[in-house]
Symmetry: C2
Subunit: 277 residues, 2 copies
């Protein structure tokens, strides 16, 4: 057993998606596409001092169901300490990052000898089960600008990517509950998501990704008034912006939000998937 | 059309492999496992001044068949300029890096709008056709410590990875011809490669990868006297070393070669696959 291990997991903004439920959480998931980000979450795992696992995010003890599931699956009790550059519940994949970072670091600390695909499968299944996300974990394990062609964990899914990179700006106005959106009727959302995916597969470029994301946000009726206003401001300034799924957040390529007069967080797409530090 | 684009491709050391020929070069390939390296190749592509493509590696104009094939497939003429931190023909995947870096950068410069899987498929097929490698390209596109479970390009293959990272040392004594080894009888080699793969799948750790690589090098009868001597020296100094496939080169984890009194190149495993800079 090692003293501790630390993993970095990039943030992930989903631009559009379709939901694909299944009874097995490791085969359930989503199709779609998104941007992984240099802003992410650093997760450090060490053996727990007693028989209770704890999760501390940015200095505060919290309960994160997917992390608990991951630790139970690996049959370990651990202290998980995470520092996040991205806000929780706002469409940046923090819960996925916590699950994935925990499973990578815990496998190392407790010498569980699982393969990368096995670890990603565990984190993905835990996230789906908790209804905190459907596609963040596999995207965050991949890095870059992943296109999720087939849903599910790495043993069943199919990924491609947009071979590009970009500076990314984002602002956030509040939380949206992924579980709430996903428990509602998702037929219209999933139809819009499939159309968006087909457009991006046809032309796998950043620009077509932004177009597809905006159409999706509109057609899936997920835009809040605030978010729609900001996207409009960026468009007026000749920029490309859309809504982060699922949060009350707007992301833009290049200097889109700055040009429109906002003071955004600035990062870039992240070439690598989650890794041990 | 852009003025130019630059891609970085990590080096790749194959520890063991089995050859899987096929009439279609995009489905042919190898099973096996290896380390991608922070030492790699930077490839810059710009439109050619006239109707002739040229390739310049470390200041010298050379002919690299897979690069020519890649440019022909994209229907472009380009000047390709590459700077390599790793030696050509010595088992570090330079030819794969040149093909993969060229396809990624050329797609960007000439706005070919292909997906990442399509680009990797083109580079992989070009490399297989030229008999300069069977698995480097897909490993270099993946990053980390990839396990190639099923052969071929990204449309047909299956990858996993060892979820770890390491400092890597290497020394090189000369070239081995990949084409020559692969054109000989590969039955014994492939039997040894399959056994090695099965051991690493059973226990996907760095240590089992090094054991499997050493057994493979011995059983496939690829060890030269020099290489066998160096590996022995590292073992005597309680280190882990094996032979880079296919080159007269030795790689070691941590400080294995330094501890044995050598003056190796030093790098680390590379968390990301090839990416545009």
């Amino acid at each position: 057993m090692r003293d501790e291990a630390t993993a970095f997991v990039p943030g992930h903004i989903t631009g559009f998606f379709s939901a694909h439920p299944a009874s097995d959480p490791t085969t359930a998931g989503s199709r779609g596409a998104g941007l992984t980000l240099t802003d992410g979450v650093e997760v450090t795992v060490e053996p727990a001092a007693d028989d209770t696992s704890t999760v501390v995010l940015d200095g505060e003890t919290i309960t994160v169901e997917p992390v608990e599931t991951v630790l139970e699956t690996l049959e370990v009790t651990a202290r998980v300490e995470a520092d996040s550059e991205i806000p929780l519940g706002s469409g940046f994949g923090v819960s996925g990052a916590l699950a994935l970072g925990t499973v990578l670091a815990a496998n190392h600390v407790f010498d569980r000898q699982l393969s990368r695909n096995e670890l990603v499968t565990i984190a993905h299944g835990a996230e789906v089960q908790a209804e905190t996300g459907l596609g963040d974990v596999v995207a965050q394990a991949h890095g870059g600008i992943p296109i999720r062609l087939e849903p599910g964990g790495p043993l069943v899914n199919k990924l491609d990517a947009i071979p590009s990179r970009a500076r990314v700006e984002y602002v956030t106005f509040g939380e949206l509950s992924t579980a709430e959106v996903l428990s509602a009727d998702t037929d219209q959302l999933s139809a819009a998501g499939k159309q968006a995916l087909s457009n991006v597969v046809e032309e796998p470029t950043l620009l077509s990704f932004m177009y597809a994301s905006r159409s999706f946000a509109r057609e899936a009726e997920l835009l809040t008034e605030t978010v729609a206003g900001v996207i409009g401001d960026v468009t007026d300034a000749d920029g490309q912006a859309s809504m982060a799924m699922l949060g009350e957040s707007v992301f833009a390529l290049g200097t889109g939000l700055s040009d429109a007069g906002y003071e955004p967080n600035v990062c870039a797409t992240h070439p690598a998937g989650a890794f041990l530090k």
